[in-house]
């Protein structure tokens, strides 16, 4: 089994999870993170309005799903399609990381691995 971790824009989360559903993900979880990549950050005020600062790290959402190896490319393609903003994509659209998972357990039943997904 593999774990796919995708970091996407917060406003894309709805579209991304729908695409993942369609691509056959049995489950997922997501969390708000603060992240920084090539994106330039945003200007924010600090110190009661009289000065601004560049906040480099921006709000993103990290979605994690564990799937069977066979679904990997389908899920990646689904996420990429749904997470891209505009036609060309923009800096800050996100990254996807894939890693191996050794075992999965379903708490309810104690089932393991493939059966637990």
């Amino acid at each position: 089994m593999i774990k796919i971790e995708a970091i996407v824009r917060p406003e894309r989360i709805g579209a991304v999870v729908d695409a993942m559903d369609a691509a056959g993900c049995g489950g997922y979880n997501y969390v708000n993170v603060t992240g920084r990549g090539k994106q330039q950050g945003i200007e924010v005020f600090t110190g009661r309005g009289a000065s601004t600062t560049r906040r480099m790290a921006l709000p993103k959402v990290l979605i994690t799903t564990v799937i069977e190896d066979s679904k990997k490319e389908a899920v990646i393609a689904a996420i990429v399609a749904a997470a891209r903003s505009g036609d060309e994509g923009n800096i800050g659209d996100g990254k996807i990381f894939v890693s191996h998972v050794a075992e999965v357990v379903r708490v309810r039943t104690g089932e393991r691995d493939g059966d637990a997904l």
């Binding site: 917060p10 406003e11 709805g14 603060t34 924010v44």
Partner: protein
């Protein structure tokens, strides 16, 4: 006696002022996290802009002489306004300037619920100045201006005998109509198809609590005196709010088996809206009728609005527009002579209907014209661009994020 009335009206004015922050939180809680400062600021900045407009020319145009349709420039900068009490305990005109100012402040703030989460903030500042001057001020003149003399001059709606005790037409119908028009012109929010949950329900209830509290100033202050009329207005205001709030949660319970905080708050505000024009002329039993009707009508109005494509984000039309229209007509239905205020109920009903229609027509048409103009003027424009909307108006227009945690945030 004048001193007692002044004492009460100072407080009533402060109470109405507090309604604008109250509204800010009511609305602010209903939007998404990324737009809460924007939504709060639509209301707060009205405290800034309209206060200034009002003392410079707004009050003068609305309330200093003139003809049936509009006042004059005689009291620009409040020139010549008296601080002396009149006969029979009448409060000084300056007191009325203040009290009326608070109504002018909250009215455009009410509208903002319709175009929340997408209206461009700098354009909104211009909108405030223009809309107050050419929409709000004339309607206020029509409904409330009178020189008090036998056969003297008064606004034309006042002249036909319509009764709007505390601002059902001037404030609520006016704002409700402007709201639905604005929502249609600004367009739907991006990505609202899944339904947006309010980001902070406690703020909604905080706002509702402050509105309920402040509304006693709004309605019980509108007689400009601390007397039996004020007491009656206070009582019926509270009763209508209570009834309409209950109607909403009961309706929700019928429909979904739950009673939401947002629903109770919305219903209570709808009751407050509906009782506003009626609070000087209905009794406590009448106010139960007003509240029942307000609850049912606005609940259905919200459901029907969901069928439209118009994205009146915070249901301003359903709550203030429909609630206000119901209140104006209900005033005719439930008014009682007992308090020595109103006699002919049937005439009142028709007068209020005419007042309502006039307000709808004028507010609707003028708001369309204003927004069209603002849309095409270079450098203005009504709507945030896509990226600004996606990132949230807080960051885009205000350079702030509402909530920042330590560490990550």
């Amino acid at each position: 006696m004048a001193e007692a009335n002044i004492a009460w009206m100072l407080v009533a004015s402060a109470l109405v002022l507090l309604m604008t922050p109250g509204l800010a939180f009511f609305y602010g809680g209903l939007v998404r996290e990324k737009n809460v400062i924007s939504t709060l600021m639509y209301s707060f900045v009205s405290l800034g802009v309209v206060s200034v407009v009002w003392v410079l020319w707004g009050y003068s145009l609305a309330f200093s002489g003139g003809n049936e349709f509009i006042g004059t420039f005689n009291a620009l900068g409040l020139k010549g306004i008296s601080f002396e009490s009149g006969p029979d305990g009448a409060v000084p005109e300056a007191m009325i300037v203040i009290f009326q100012m608070m109504f002018a402040i909250i009215t455009p703030a009410l509208i903002t619920g319709a175009f929340a989460e997408r209206f461009k903030f700098s354009t909104y500042l211009v909108f405030l100045v223009v809309w107050i001057t050419i929409v709000y001020v004339p309607i206020a003149h029509w409904v409330w201006y009178t020189d008090g003399m036998e056969g003297g001059i008064s606004g034309w709606i006042y002249g036909i005998g319509a009764a709007d005790f505390a601002g059902g037409t001037v404030v609520h119908i006016n704002a409700g109509i402007a709201a639905i028009v604005a929502a249609a012109m600004v367009g739907r929010r991006r990505s609202i198809d899944k339904g947006i949950e309010p980001h902070n329900v406690p703020f909604v209830l905080l706002g509702a609590g402050l509105l309920w509290f402040g509304w006693f100033g709004f309605n019980a202050g509108s007689g400009l005196a601390a007397d039996g009329v004020a007491i009656n207005a206070f009582l019926v205001t509270n009763t209508a709010a209570a009834v309409a709030g209950l109607v909403w949660v009961i309706a929700e319970y019928q429909q979904a088996g739950k009673m939401s905080g947002v629903g109770f708050a919305t219903g209570a505000v709808a009751g407050l809206v509906a009782i506003t024009p009626a609070s000087g002329s209905v009794g406590v039993m009448g106010s139960i009728g007003v509240g029942l009707g307000a609850g049912i009508i606005t609940y259905l109005a919200v459901r029907m609005r969901h069928l439209l494509k118009v994205d009146d984000a915070l249901e301003v039309f359903a709550v203030h527009g429909m609630g206000g229209i119901w209140g104006a007509l209900a005033t005719g239905i439930f008014a009682v002579g007992g308090l020595g205020m109103i006699d002919g109920e049937f005439g009142l009903f028709w007068a209020n209907l005419r007042a309502t229609l006039a307000t709808i027509a004028y507010s609707g048409v003028m708001t369309i014209i204003i927004l069209k103009a603002l849309d095409v003027i270079p450098g203005l424009g009504l709507r945030a661009v896509e990226r600004e909307e996606d990132n949230g108006l807080d960051v885009s227009f205000h350079g702030e994020r509402a909530y920042v945690s330590d560490g990550a945030d």
